[in-house]
């Protein structure tokens, strides 16, 4: 697939630019992700690099690690270094708008990938349909629970619109299932440690807890550990999001019930593709949606196989 695309791009380049030799080495893009240490972003960066390599582009990354000021500075540095485009996963919807302003002032397209921004200077947003993901997780959970039971909701960091949208979609769907009761809703950091602790507390507060929603796979892995340690494996459903490899293994083991694969590698690739299209003058909607896949015990083996293959 990769080779085919590379070949296709080369062929296209030869056809279009026969008169002038491809000057691919002129194109350098900048990347600023919200976190360096989150497996989701590590994978996304892999996708970005792979597709950029295929196009013959150079990639410069700047690190932010959830520090808004650092992310703004980083994007300003990228613009100053003359990148042709910026892929950014903003820490939150408004906090780093100065980064978008800096790019726009230099007429550099700035495309949000995964998380988005309210900035009018956002060129476009490669996004998942967050509310729909929330609805899908809720629908899956309600079906497994037979439309009744108590659910604890371990949300993401306060302020991040992704996690608000997930909550909106999730709670909207759960409201239609009158037998399901969301007994707690906490925001917090996306760490395994928090997942363990809050799942322990939730199971004490509600001994008949039926399911735990975790904002991402790290939190979910922590929560499923607490569930397994409490001897409630399979009795308390745990749902995650992202589809990172340890989560897939946990689904296979049965501690984790489901996750939503966002395929971060594909996000990165799509981000580069959209940027490439935009630079060529193609028109896009403000939001370009990426498709998501629900992974549970029924298909986890296929996904694991696909991952090993590719």
């Amino acid at each position: 697939m990769k080779q085919f695309l590379a070949a296709a791009v080369l062929a296209a380049g030869t056809l279009l630019g026969a008169a002038q030799p491809a000057r691919a080495d002129d194109i350098t893009i900048g990347v600023s992700l919200a976190q360096d240490d989150n497996p989701f972003y590590i994978q996304m960066l892999k996708g970005i690099r792979a597709r950029a390599d295929a196009l013959g582009w150079k990639v410069i990354t700047v690190s932010a690690n959830e520090d808004k000021q650092k992310q703004i500075n980083g994007v300003q540095d990228l613009v100053a270094r003359g990148v042709k485009g910026v892929l950014i996963s903003p820490i939150d919807a408004t906090g780093v708008n100065a980064a978008y302003d800096a790019a726009a002032a230099a007429h550099v397209p700035i495309i949000s990938v995964a998380r988005g921004s309210t900035s009018p200077n956002q060129t476009l947003h490669v996004a998942m349909d967050e509310k729909q993901v929330g609805r899908d997780i809720a629908a899956w959970t309600a079906a497994k629970l037979g439309d009744k039971g108590k659910v604890a909701f371990l949300g993401g960091p306060a302020g991040a619109p992704t996690f608000r949208n997930l909550w909106d979609g999730y709670s909207e769907t759960m409201a239609k299932h009158s037998g399901i009761q969301i007994v707690s809703h906490n925001d917090g950091p996306l760490t395994r440690e928090r997942g363990v602790k809050e799942a322990e507390d939730a199971m004490v507060a509600h001994p008949d807890l039926a399911a735990i929603y975790a904002a991402n796979d790290d939190v979910a892995l922590g929560a499923q550990q607490a569930v397994v340690a409490a001897g409630k494996k399979g009795k308390v459903l745990v749902t995650g999001m992202n589809g990172v490899p340890p989560a897939l293994r946990a689904i296979k083991d049965g501690g984790l019930s489901m996750t939503v694969e966002l395929n971060p590698v594909q996000w990165g690739q799509l981000g580069v593709d959209v940027l490439a299209g935009y630079l060529k003058g193609e028109k896009y909607n403000q939001q370009v949606f990426i498709k998501h896949v629900i992974i549970d015990q029924s298909n986890v083996d296929d996904v694991l196989k696909r991952m090993q293959a590719g």
């Binding site: 906490n186 363990v196 602790k197 322990e200 199971m203 004490v204 409490a230």
Partner: protein
């Protein structure tokens, strides 16, 4: 602990001046437990009390190390990063060389960070706040560098024996809780019954006086940071066993919780005063607060407000008590 509660009478305060007002932290903890038990009946369930002990175990070990440094007149902001470093390095070594080698590597990594802190603070005489702020950032960077930002858990997970440690129990109590319990006894003996302990208090109480009485101040000060680092390293390994992986994001804000716990326990940030068991009471004030608020279904935003307010209130009550006693006597 119970005898401390009953002996808060004036004669005791007269006999030993450092005991004045020393029971506020324990009283605060008891009040908190009572409130939590009333508001959330399940708080006192065996399952929950077990959870609370485990949730506090890692922080208790960090806070004991912090108590060493603070008694010695110092300060250590790098413990959170050190917890992550130890967990990640320990886990990585463990995947290649077995459980024992991994645990030793984790503790050694922590001790090394402590030794660097100690050398810079004691020998180069850089302000401990700045020194450890520097190592806090630096060590977190090293963690991300060595792990590539990804959790360390190998292809098939950490060794089962190590993971079992995080869940196993002895006499009904998690092994993770036995670690700080045993350390509390051993380290209290070290601090309160050995010449080394006396030197730590002396150095924290006044460097010049300690120097004039023949104590090698630099060495003692540096040693407190090594203790703190090594204990943070041990805490990192405990956390790794609880999280079944070395997490590069582990231990964030541990330094603040540990410092708050030590101060809640009545130690003085100017040095020369403090007790390990009181620091652990401070840890459990923080843990019970978080756990109780979770059981009461308090909104996570209000939890932060409540935790901040309780830290200030408890510390202020302790200070007021100190002042009141000072005026009477």
């Amino acid at each position: 602990m119970s005898d401390a509660a009953t002996s808060s009478s004036v004669p005791a305060a007269k006999r030993r001046s450092f005991d004045i007002g020393g029971h506020i932290p324990l009283a605060a903890l008891i009040v908190l437990v009572a409130v939590a038990a009333l508001a959330a009946p399940r708080f006192l369930s065996v399952l929950n009390l077990t959870n609370v002990l485990v949730q506090g175990a890692v922080m208790a070990v960090v806070a004991m190390g912090m108590t060493f440094v603070i008694i010695g007149g110092g300060f250590d902001l790098s413990v959170g990063s050190t917890v992550a470093l130890a967990g990640c390095i320990g886990s990585a070594v463990m995947l290649k060389g077995g459980v024992a080698a991994g645990v030793i590597a984790g503790i050694a990594a922590g001790a090394l960070v402590g030794a660097i802190n100690g050398a810079v603070v004691a020998v180069l005489r850089v302000n401990p706040f700045i020194t450890t702020l520097g190592t806090m950032v630096l060590v977190r960077g090293v963690v991300y560098l060595v792990t590539g930002g990804a959790p360390v858990e190998g292809e098939f997970g950490l060794p089962p024996a190590f993971i079992a440690f995080g869940t196993a129990r002895l006499l009904g109590i998690s092994l993770l809780v036995w670690v700080p319990a045993v350390l509390l006894l051993a380290l209290s003996w070290l601090l309160h019954a050995t010449p080394y302990g006396t030197r730590v208090f002396a150095v924290g109480g006044g460097r010049e006086a300690a120097f004039l009485s023949g104590i090698r101040v630099e060495r003692v000060v540096a040693s407190t940071y090594v203790w703190c680092g090594a204990l943070a390293g041990l805490a990192g390994m405990m956390l790794a066993s609880r999280l079944q992986s070395g997490q590069p994001t582990a231990g964030e804000f541990y330094e603040l919780t540990a410092i708050a716990a030590v101060v809640l326990g009545g130690a003085s940030l100017t040095g020369g005063d403090g007790k390990l068991y009181k620091s652990i009471i401070g840890v459990f004030i923080m843990v019970v607060l978080g756990n109780g608020l979770n059981l009461m279904n308090v909104d996570s935003y209000w939890q932060r407000v409540a935790i901040g307010a309780v830290i200030i209130a408890a510390a202020a009550a302790d200070r007021l008590r100190h002042r009141a006693q000072g005026r009477i006597i």
